[in-house]
């Protein structure tokens, strides 16, 4: 209902050719190894040091990992994915390094190549393993450091490299840059929707993503309707609209900073107090948790995920919704990056509650949810498609057990992965976006709020 499967298919057909656009750097082998190593050395900190000192090799992390559980291949045991980082730590930074060096080998290019699959294809940095680890080791965070090392060695998967390079150099994704974005918005404006573009003075800076522009336009439309309905002073800005951060996903620190700084500057330019992140999982932690550190100081605005924003509005009573009825059986898929990584857990549930649906939790939910298998860029990695599917089947089973007719989520990649997975498995559950169902449930005319008149459908 909210997405044209034909458009999705066209998009999906692009993915296999995504890597062809990548321009892998030319580097000597030893340079690659040393680039990875130096990055590990730079990025390791005291917390990681304690974590790396702590592992007791109990293997419990495997039972939390969708890639291990889906394949039962010992190479996917989460903590093993950190082996190279651990070895560099042991040789270079560990307090016992003088001893460790006696029996710990240096990392090699061959190993880096082998580990590429382990830190990209078979890890969505979902962080579920940290929830079972008896020592509380933050594995996902260190997988990200592994990715950063790989990135510096020019060894990321071609698909992510292509995206990262495009975002860094052209400020575009899938060929959608500021101009294309403006074009798309103008089209929407012409259809009667009020979308303030490039305002100089706004309370809320709304960001979006190429996926919403190309594919899930309804998500952007829904956001606009809701904000207008609430009568808020908001804007989209062509100098800082892209929430997706392929620097973060690929491990490229430089592009990560470029991408998040664009939003920071845009928010500054319009004096926004709030930056609203669309339904895009990793974009939230990218702005909410990482951006300030890249920026080098506290951000002058609050960062809210759209699901979080909606929940708060509902809770505060500012947003009233038409009940959808108990006959609608719904379950919610917590995007890892929003729930486990960022604590936006209860807010979407408040919204679903307000919608009055027959809401059913999956067995392992909230901060313990199973990842859909497509996060952290894995959805775009072609070589990961089989793995992804096996991981997705776990999620599918969880949803099946609830007896819900459709699954609502608040992350575009999760949705893409669900759609892709259900297409492959011939699954019949509906896959819906939280913001879109909220937009559908908006009461027709709320109050006589001035100025922003909504031309809802």
């Amino acid at each position: 209902m909210t997405i044209d499967m034909q458009v999705f298919k066209q998009f999906a057909e692009q993915i296999p050719h995504l890597g062809e656009r990548a321009q892998p750097p030319q580097m000597a082998d030893h340079k690659r190894v040393s680039a990875a190593k130096e990055t590990f050395v730079r990025k390791l900190d005291a917390r990681m040091a304690v974590d790396l000192e702590s592992c007791i090799h109990c293997g419990h992390c495997a039972s939390a990992c969708h890639f291990y559980v889906g394949t039962e291949d010992p190479k996917y045991v989460p903590i093993r994915k950190l082996d190279l980082l651990k070895r560099v730590y042991r040789r270079e930074l560990s307090p016992l390094r003088w001893l460790h060096r006696l029996y710990t080998d240096d990392i090699t290019l061959k190993e880096l190549q082998e580990w590429q699959e382990l830190v990209y294809d078979s890890c969505t940095e979902c962080g579920r393993c940290s929830m079972v680890c008896p020592m509380g080791i933050n594995i996902a965070g260190m997988v990200n450091v592994m990715r950063q090392g790989m990135a510096r060695a020019g060894m990321m998967p071609a698909e992510l490299m292509a995206m990262e390079q495009e975002q860094g150099v052209h400020d575009s994704l899938f060929g959608v840059g500021p101009e294309q974005m403006k074009g798309a918005i103008m089209q929407l404006q012409q259809s009667g929707l009020d979308i303030p573009l490039d305002k100089h003075d706004a309370d809320i800076l709304v960001t979006t993503s190429v996926i919403d522009i190309m594919l899930f336009t309804d998500g952007l439309i829904a956001t606009a309707k809701i904000l207008n309905h609430l009568g808020l002073n908001w804007t989209l800005r062509s100098d800082g609209y892209e929430a997706a951060n392929f620097g973060l996903l690929s491990g490229c620190e430089r592009v990560q900073k470029i991408a998040s700084e664009r939003i920071v500057l845009a928010a500054r330019a319009c004096g926004a107090k709030t930056v609203l992140i669309p339904e895009c999982g990793h974009a939230y932690p990218s702005m909410r948790w990482e951006a300030a550190n890249e920026h080098g100081g506290k951000l002058p605005f609050e960062v809210l995920a759209i699901s979080e924003f909606l929940g708060r509005e509902v809770k505060a009573g500012r947003l009233k919704l038409n009940p959808m009825g108990r006959e609608k059986k719904i379950t919610y898929h917590d995007p890892c990056k929003l729930a486990r990584h960022s604590g936006a857990i209860e807010e979407p549930r408040w919204v679903l509650d307000a919608l009055g649906v027959d809401f059913r939790e999956v067995e392992s939910n909230k901060e313990l949810n199973w990842c859909c298998g497509g996060g952290a860029g894995v959805f775009l990695i072609n070589s990961a498609s089989e793995l992804r599917q096996k991981a997705f089947e776990i999620k599918m089973g969880q949803v099946e057990k609830t007896g819900a007719d459709s699954v609502v989520t608040a992350c575009g990649s999760c949705r893409l992965n669900f759609m892709n997975g259900s297409m492959r498995s011939g699954w019949d559950k509906g896959i819906e976006s939280l913001v879109e169902i909220v937009a559908e449930a908006l009461p027709v005319q709320q109050s006589s709020e001035p100025a922003k008149q909504t031309t809802a459908s």
């Binding site: 130096e38 050395v41 730079r42 390791l44 930074l93 560990s94 307090p95 016992l96």
Partner: protein, 354 residues
């Protein structure tokens, strides 16, 4: 001096009947901890036993060992056995003194060369050529070597002779040594204890009398029959140990009720001796029964093994300074390691900036 009467004849002379002799043999076998089935053999051997010549040398000692032996009142088995031997030299017990005493020793050595039994109590000072203890101007060391040369066997009575004992305790000012540290070409039996149990001394003598040879020995040359098990093994308080019931002080309920004295420093678990079964003062009691833990007096170096009232499981090291020093060193190395790792990270940062 020696006469040719057998032990049987000697006893008969004293009016001991055949029944009495049988009883004596049963008691002797019991004393030697032999199985009761050995009694007839013991009887047959003792009946024929000749009177051996014994030379007793006392060196750096306190006479406690001799006291222990002579505390037994006649006519005890110990007394009878002791009476039977020909004690040709023992400077505490013999009537002769001065030159006469030394002549008696020399005569016995000559007459019984290669056959006499040498009993030693006390340790031998080695430092400064052994001048710290002399008898008739002869150093203990010289006398031991001289007398040992013609002995059939040597019995080291008491912990001093067996292991050096108190004179050897830290700082061992006289350079005291045990017999076996000096003599290595003769069979030596150690009967340690401070003092040793009299029945154990006479048991060894009886064994020598009965069988003409020394009893079976353990790795420390102690007779296995008496030193085969620890005090703890045979202690009547052992069940309390197993149940975890311990006296905490010498006057608490546990002490009154006879609970285990382990916590009060009892060395029973590491002390091999027969106190718990042979007991003292003619079988009356032994230290643990009297309410005091074993101090391990029959073990080598017992004086230097930590306090008598320190539980056995405690360490004997005494330096909190060592630990403090180690802690300081640990922090220092750790901090240095961290400084090094920070420098390493800073270097990586600089490379990245380039």
């Amino acid at each position: 001096m020696t006469d040719d009467k057998t032990l049987g004849e000697r006893l008969r002379e004293r009016g001991v009947s055949r029944r009495g002799f049988m009883k004596f043999c049963a008691a002797t076998a019991s004393m030697m901890a032999l199985p009761t089935s050995m009694i007839p053999r013991v009887a047959a051997a003792l009946e024929q036993a000749r009177r051996p010549s014994v030379i007793w040398l006392s060196f750096q000692e306190c006479t406690g060992c001799t006291e222990s032996l002579t505390r037994s009142h006649a006519p005890t088995i110990e007394g009878l056995i002791f009476d039977h031997i020909s004690l040709d030299y023992h400077h505490t017990l013999q009537a002769a003194s001065g030159d006469a005493a030394e002549h008696a020793r020399e005569a016995a050595m000559k007459q019984n060369h290669g056959e006499y039994l040498l009993v030693v109590d006390g340790s031998i000072p080695l430092k400064d050529d052994g001048i710290y203890s002399t008898i008739a101007g002869i150093t203990n060391l010289a006398m031991l070597k001289d007398v040992a040369a013609g002995a059939a066997a040597i019995i080291s009575v008491g912990t001093c002779a067996a292991y050096g004992g108190l004179p050897k305790a830290n700082p061992n000012p006289t350079g005291a040594a045990s017999v076996s540290e000096i003599i290595d070409d003769k069979p030596i039996v150690n009967v340690p204890g401070c003092p040793p149990i009299p029945t154990v001394i006479t048991g060894v003598l009886a064994h020598f009398l009965t069988f003409g040879r020394l009893p079976e020995l353990d790795a420390l040359n102690r007779p296995k029959v008496f030193f085969g098990q620890t005090i703890h093994d045979r202690c009547y308080r052992r069940p309390f140990y197993e149940r975890g019931k311990f006296a905490e002080t010498f006057d608490d309920k546990g002490a009154r009720e006879g609970w285990c004295l382990f916590k009060l420093g009892c060395k029973g678990p590491t002390t091999y001796n027969a106190c718990a079964t042979a007991k003292w003062n003619e079988g009356t009691s032994f230290p643990i029964e009297a309410g005091h833990g074993c101090i391990g007096c029959s073990e080598p170096g017992f004086w230097d093994k930590g306090g008598f009232y320190e539980a056995l499981s405690k360490g004997t090291y005494g330096s909190a300074e060592g630990i403090a020093l180690a802690a300081g060193a640990g922090v220092a190395i750790g901090a240095a390691a961290a400084m090094g790792s920070r420098a390493r990270q800073a270097q990586a940062d600089r490379k990245e900036e380039k």
